[in-house]
Amino acid sequence: MISVTINGEQRQFDVPADTPILWVLRDFAKLTGSRFGCGMALCGACTVHLDGQPIRSCVSPISMAAGKHITTIEAIENDSIGRRVQQAWMDEAVAQCGYCQSGQIMSAVALLKQHPNPTDAQIDTAMAGNICRCGTYTRIRSAIHRAAGQRTASAEQTSNRNSDLFTEVKA
């Protein structure tokens, strides 16, 4: 029996110690917001926070979380930065299929906790482990800047993008 705290709630699981946190969350805790994308820590769709640090839950055994706190996408809106990031994702209409976005948001929240005013280079470094096959990367950059309250090249690009279309659509 392994005891962990998930989104503030203490839970116990009778699973083999090598079971990845991802499958404990999905199949046992019934928290399906963390996604399975690769199983090898290559795509980031499964990203959760363990004691505040982003981890790839698909390769992290549940034994590693014993006695610790796991935060998943389902509870990130309780975090002030988490809530801001979610809202920025809405404002930029980042998501296409949305499957990778739980992991993207968890990585972005971790980034902003470390770098409240990230540069594009810091964003690229922090987010390079999260694959989006739909290709929403330019909007992810813009949304992270927006969540940080920045007016940067990326943020400017957002407004440019709107005007690109605005002149043309209404011309």
């Binding site: 690769c38 290559l42 809202q87 209409a93 739980s102 594009d120 290709g135 929403t136 909007r139 659509v169």
Partner: protein
């Protein structure tokens, strides 16, 4: 050796293909011609049916009955049905926007319900070919307008006044002479009881009355979670969105399958003694190998069923399977490197002529100079972030045996009919619930994973089974994008104008998946850029060379347009360079004067299923996007060393797209993409922000096609197992900026074009042309990989 169950071979199935017509075609015209006509065969079963186009030609056509798509509640809430598959293109938002706008609904009171598979009720649901809005804008407008008129009539009846004095505004009907009003909720019951007005009596909104259609996001309230921008947005960012694997039934088993490494190889023997020791493993079941060509039949293999996903994965890891490559034939020795050499040899010899205009041989004889080049584009896997998953449960009910499916598929009806057939049920006994697709890109147009779940549930006496593909499964056993060798020859006349053009395309056909012996591209495939080439060149010859398929070949976003556009647009840039001309001016000269070409005059058969009179090849629209993209990118401007602009244009899915890439290549050979300018003309844009997002996404995927993405095979097996070997773009490799420029976005005199796919084909050639401009190094083999390393 295991004592476990083996499932009997299910009968070979060609779901949703008109089997009668298919067999007829094979008998009358030979497999190839039939394969080429497959889309038409799907469309209409009657031997003498008039030619149909667009939505009319799709199985079950379109439906515009408002009662099918709209339900009004007395409390004012409105539920709108989206019947198309949502895979990131935003169709759940866009379709419903059209209904809501014509209806006059307040978006805050609208909710969206996803339809189950039921084309008899909803019309065609097969979500591919960039068709959803192209085929459904008009029917959805009519459905919305019809219900609006029913609400107005209900109000008129209530007040005993003329309906012409009653006007639906936003969620209410106003009696104009008196200013009285009734809300949609108050009118719901009475309106629903009325007859649906005749189509010719519908009053569609004028464009200036639209509130959501053709509007930009900034027209919506800022920071509003309910905005039409994204129906599923908040569910996605909170993790609540439901994909196929996010649903479970009581007592469900989790299955992971070891599939044969080569297309067609079979299980020789297996040892599950270690598997059965894994905590949670319940059963091991061998599945039959599908005979070739396998269509959408599962590949077979050995399934491990467990009480949770991890146990099933561990169980499969512990499984020892010996495979018999015999039934796979040549596929068991498939080596993609050797095959590319074979394709190159084939390309040296004449192929089957698929388009002829003028006399290319004479052009060669009279040429001042000639130029040849060949381009290679590899296999790829669609690799949607959500690997395939499906749940099937079979139950005895008071009304007989019923099957419930929960999955994410692009073609729900195909899944429903296929499950029914293999379980011996009627299609109406099978319910297919459609979850969100965590990406599709063509992979989920093939429901083999749903059939696996059905077979396993059946083997378990109907117990719910969820089949979960891992990433390795997805990459090893996709329906792969084809592989292609594009051979070109051009002749220049005395004035240095291009007088002759030969395009010989060697590439396995998707139809090799459906009929034996197919080695040539079908009409549908050569109509993707080869026959509909828009150039004003006196002598044009296009040929298809033989190439058998050795893996399952299937649709990948933009399909054959990818290699065809890469070849054509790279070759034009090379010709311009050889002629010492500016690429843009040279390209515009090849296009010639603005004109509308009847595709049939170029031997085009398919034209994306659209009426060639409504959808001609329009060189003016080609020119329009070229001018826009080059202007915005500053074409011709001076750039620092190692930096260059590259241009490409392509028409596909009846839309036009030009791209300029601004690229820097470092001394180490690293490619940095500073900016992409994409000009796009799909005619009127219904949901401009989602059009833009599709272009941005296509740009990133296209960067991957250009720089890194490929599948290779050796000894009959795919070499890439996960994202460390199968490379797709990451955020640091994406363009720093992507600018999208809409052309004709509000021009309602044009018919709608496709959106999801046409942004992709020009990206890789524009990128490689930019690399040439930056470095002088010409890329003829995709992907770039380490070709730029010094």
């Amino acid at each position: 050796m295991s004592q476990n169950t083996t499932i009997q071979q299910p009968s070979v199935m060609l779901a949703n293909v008109s089997r009668r017509r298919f067999m007829q075609g094979l008998a009358v015209s030979g497999a190839l011609v039939m394969a080429a006509r497959w889309d038409l065969a799907m469309a209409d079963d009657s031997p003498n049916a008039a030619q149909k186009y667009g939505g009319d030609a799709m199985p079950h056509g379109w439906v515009d009955n408002p009662n099918v798509f709209i339900s009004l509640a007395a409390d004012g809430k409105i539920t709108l049905i989206n019947h198309r598959a949502e895979m990131g293109q935003g169709i759940r938002t866009s379709i419903v926007m059209v209904l809501a706008d014509e209806l006059g609904a307040d978006w805050q009171l609208v909710s969206v319900e996803q339809a189950q598979a039921n084309e008899e009720k909803y019309g065609n649901q097969n979500t591919d070919g960039s068709r959803s809005m192209r085929h459904w804008f008009d029917p959805m407008r009519r459905a919305g307008a019809a219900m609006r008129q029913m609400l107005e009539q209900a109000a008129a009846n209530h007040w005993h006044v003329a309906a012409s004095d009653c006007l639906a505004t936003v969620h209410q009907v106003v009696h104009e002479p008196t200013g009285r009003s009734l809300s949609f909720g108050e009118l719901a019951a009475a309106a629903a009881a009325l007859e649906v007005p005749a189509r010719d009596s519908l009053r569609l909104k004028t464009t200036d009355q639209w509130r959501y259609i053709n509007q930009l996001p900034k027209a919506y309230p800022e920071s509003n979670q309910q905005q039409p921008l994204a129906v599923d947005g908040w569910d996605i960012v909170t993790g609540k969105a439901k994909y196929a694997a996010d649903v479970e039934f009581d007592n469900m088993l989790y299955a992971v399958i070891a599939r044969p490494p080569s297309y067609g190889s079979a299980v020789k023997s297996w040892d599950d003694s270690e598997t059965l020791k894994v905590d949670g493993v319940v059963k091991v079941i061998a599945l039959p190998t599908a005979s070739q060509p396998s269509a959408f039949e599962p590949l077979g293999g050995v399934a491990v069923l467990a009480t949770n996903t991890w146990a099933a994965i561990k169980g499969r890891n512990a499984l020892k399977v010996e495979w018999d490559k015999g039934p796979a034939g040549d596929n068991g020795r498939y080596d993609s490197s050797t095959f590319s050499q074979q394709m190159q040899q084939t390309a040296q010899l004449p192929g089957k002529v698929v388009r002829q205009q003028g006399d290319f041989v004479a052009a060669q004889q009279q040429a001042n100079s000639t130029f040849k080049a060949e381009y290679y584009a590899p296999h790829m896997a669609q690799a949607p972030m959500e690997p395939p998953a499906a749940i099937v449960r079979i139950q005895q009910t008071d009304n007989g045996i019923k099957a419930d499916v929960w999955t994410s598929v692009q073609n729900p009806q195909l899944a429903r009919d296929g499950v029914a057939k293999r379980l011996g049920l009627q299609p109406t006994d099978v319910t297919v619930n459609c979850a969100l697709l965590g990406g599709g890109f063509g992979r989920k147009a093939k429901p083999d994973y749903v059939f696996e779940a059905a077979d396993l549930s059946k083997a378990m006496g109907g117990r719910p089974v969820r089949v979960q593909w891992t990433r390795e499964d997805d990459l090893h056993h996709s329906f792969f994008h084809t592989v292609a060798l594009e051979h070109f020859e051009a002749t220049f006349d005395q004035q240095q104008a291009v007088s002759g053009w030969l395009h010989r395309s060697v590439s396995p056909s998707i139809y090799s998946l459906f009929a034996p012996g197919v080695k040539l591209q079908s009409d549908m495939e050569v109509d993707q850029g080869i026959r509909n080439l828009p150039f004003d060149i006196p002598a044009i010859q296009a040929e298809s060379g033989e190439a058998p398929g050795h893996v399952r070949i299937g649709w990948f976003r933009s399909v054959y347009n990818i290699p065809h556009a890469f070849g054509i647009q790279s070759f034009v840039a090379e010709l311009a360079h050889k002629a010492g001309r500016d690429h843009k001016e040279f390209l515009l000269q090849l296009l010639g004067p603005d004109r509308q070409i009847d595709p049939r005059s170029q031997q085009v058969v398919w034209n994306y299923g659209e009426n060639p009179e409504l959808y001609p090849i329009d060189t003016g629209r080609f020119r329009g996007v070229i001018e826009k993209a080059t202007k915005e990118a500053g074409w011709g401007k001076k750039l620092p060393k190692n930096r260059g602009l590259g241009l490409a244009v392509h028409q596909s899915f009846v839309s036009y797209c030009a791209v300029v890439m601004d690229v820097e290549v470092s001394d180490a050979g690293e490619v940095i993409i500073h900016r992409a300018d994409i000009a796009f003309d799909c005619g009127p844009q219904i949901n401009p922000d989602r059009v833009r997002s599709q272009l941005e996404g296509a740009c990133v995927m296209g960067v991957g096609i250009g720089l890194m993405t490929q599948i290779t095979a050796k000894d009959g097996a795919i070499e890439q197992g996960n994202f460390h070997q199968y490379l797709v773009p990451r955020i640091n490799q994406a363009p720093k900026q992507i600018h999208t420029w809409a052309v004709n976005a509000s021009n309602m005199s044009l018919p709608l074009g496709g959106v999801g796919e046409p942004g992709l084909p020009p990206i890789a050639p524009a990128l490689c042309n930019a690399i040439f401009a930056a470095t002088g190094k010409r890329i003829r083999n995709l992907p770039v990989g380490n070709q730029l390393a010094s």
